[in-house]
């Protein structure tokens, strides 16, 4: 079975260099590595991905726009027919770059991590909020229909989430993605940003409410694995680090890196990943859980962080399952509360 599984998406970290040092950066980006992939190596990688039937390419980093040859790589990727997304902090986008990104029909995903300067700047650096807003305005002015704001919910910006849609509507940003902070990279050091599993059902309730009432297009994650685990890192996406190593998810630690693209073909790396027996094995608790067909195991990086075992349960998943159990158990009370809350809750 494994040999026939093909990934649909590839993430390529084109550099580890970044103009920011965000407190929650999952790859702890900052300085460029000496042995990062060259332009020809990345182009070969894209060519191989295309041959494998991968149609979706995400350029990440570090900050991809920091590379001087990035636009020629981007152009090659688009000319090869790939759907391309770039994950960027946006700060290096000027008029000319904005025009090129739009002309190439690249999906531009810009991170905004607060609805006010204080919060965003705390995470990303002084003055970055205003500069990011300026770039968003520029992209809107140039009619970038794929422009997407990525808001990573963490413990210190959660209360601002409700203000975000209005801010984005005012600017004219057409799309929003709401993600959740992962215990990876610098977020592990700055653990005060992490949302305690205890609070996940509550946070989830609020995120859903904001999504329902946002009045702006919400782009959802639809990644889903196969078999027992839902983590797409197991089967439908793969990543290549800036130094060429296979990584199925940026949120995993370096101990889960695979082989290097300088020594193997992409197909070989993928097959060797699928053949690994140490990851993505359903644990006993998950196997017994009636919710497994729905959650399919949740996030493996969280399992690793909270339990030190990549095959452990995802505590967020368990918390959300408990919420479902609570609602089911209290369904009569909740139904009654719709008509007479005083009686229902008394």
């Amino acid at each position: 079975m494994a040999a026939t599984i093909k990934p649909s998406r590839i993430y390529i970290d084109v550099t580890n260099a970044c103009n920011l040092r965000c407190r929650h950066c999952c790859t702890s980006s900052g300085c460029k590595y000496e042995d990062e992939l060259g332009k020809e190596e990345i182009i070969s990688l894209i060519h191989q991905a295309k041959k494998m039937g991968i149609t979706n390419l995400v350029f990440s980093g570090g900050e991809p726009l920091i590379r001087k040859d990035f636009f020629s790589i981007l152009e090659y990727a688009r000319n090869s027919g790939m759907e391309v997304t770039i994950l960027t902090n946006g700060l290096l986008i000027d008029y000319k770059k904005a025009k090129t990104l739009i002309d190439l029909s690249v999906r531009v995903k810009i991170s905004l991590d607060g609805a006010c300067a204080e919060t965003h700047d705390y995470l990303r650096g002084k003055g970055t909020f205003e500069r990011t807003i300026d770039v968003l305005r520029l992209m809107v002015k140039l009619k970038c229909e794929t422009l997407t704001v990525h808001y990573t919910v963490h413990r210190l910006n959660f209360l601002e989430l409700e203000m975000l849609p209005e801010l984005l509507r005012k600017i004219g940003v057409p799309n929003l993605v709401i993600g959740t902070i992962k215990p990876a990279g610098r977020a592990q050091i700055n653990s005060e940003l992490l949302i305690p599993p205890r609070m996940v059902p509550f946070v989830h309730e609020r995120v859903n409410s904001v999504k329902r009432n946002a009045g702006i297009r919400i782009m959802s994650f639809s990644d889903r694995g196969w078999g027992e685990f839902g983590c797409p890192a197991s089967c439908n996406k793969l990543g290549i680090t800036s130094t060429g190593f296979l990584t199925t998810c940026a949120f995993f630690g370096s101990q889960f890196l695979g082989g290097n693209i300088r020594e193997h073909t992409l197909e070989e790396l993928w097959q060797s990943h699928l053949a690994r027996s140490d990851i993505f094995v359903a644990n006993e608790k998950c196997k017994k859980c009636p919710y497994l067909p729905s959650c399919a195991g949740g996030c493996r990086a969280r399992a690793l962080y909270y339990y030190g075992d990549i095959n452990a349960p995802d505590p967020y998943c368990c918390a959300l399952y408990n919420k479902k159990v609570f609602i089911d158990e209290n369904r009569p009370t909740l139904l009654k509360a719709l008509e007479n809350p005083m009686e229902a809750f008394s």
């Binding site: 989830h204 990644d223 919420k323 909740l334 809750f345």
Partner: protein, 113 residues
């Protein structure tokens, strides 16, 4: 306001429920869990949690929270009248939250909540 906060906190797993017999009638009592991370709560939710420092009835919570909201200038006296449990706004606010909760399905992707 209080009703919606109460329901969201209840569904969000921040409040525990205990059934107790009083004068031969069973009643529900509510108390906030002690390990709630208040950094994630808005002012009204914080008050609800504060008022549920021990087991209380729903009615007691509404009265107590209403007073606290006025004391902290979060609600005016007029607005606090909305706290009547049969008020239309009360039902509307809470109804939306409950209706969505009844259709709740946990997410199928761990990358996002």
């Amino acid at each position: 306001m209080v009703a919606q906060a109460f329901v969201e906190l209840l569904i969000g797993g921040c409040i525990e429920i205990k059934n107790e017999q009083k004068d031969g009638i069973e009643q529900k009592l509510y108390r906030a869990f002690s390990d709630i991370d208040t950094a994630l709560l808005n002012p009204v939710e914080k008050i609800v949690i504060k008022c549920l420092d021990k087991f209380r009835t729903f009615g007691e919570l509404l009265t107590l929270a209403g007073k606290e909201l006025q004391k902290e200038n979060i609600l005016s006296e007029k607005e606090a009248c909305i706290l009547s449990p049969l008020d239309a706004q009360f039902l509307e606010e809470m109804g939306e939250t409950i209706n969505h909760a009844l259709e709740y399905l946990p997410p199928t992707c761990g990358c996002s909540l």
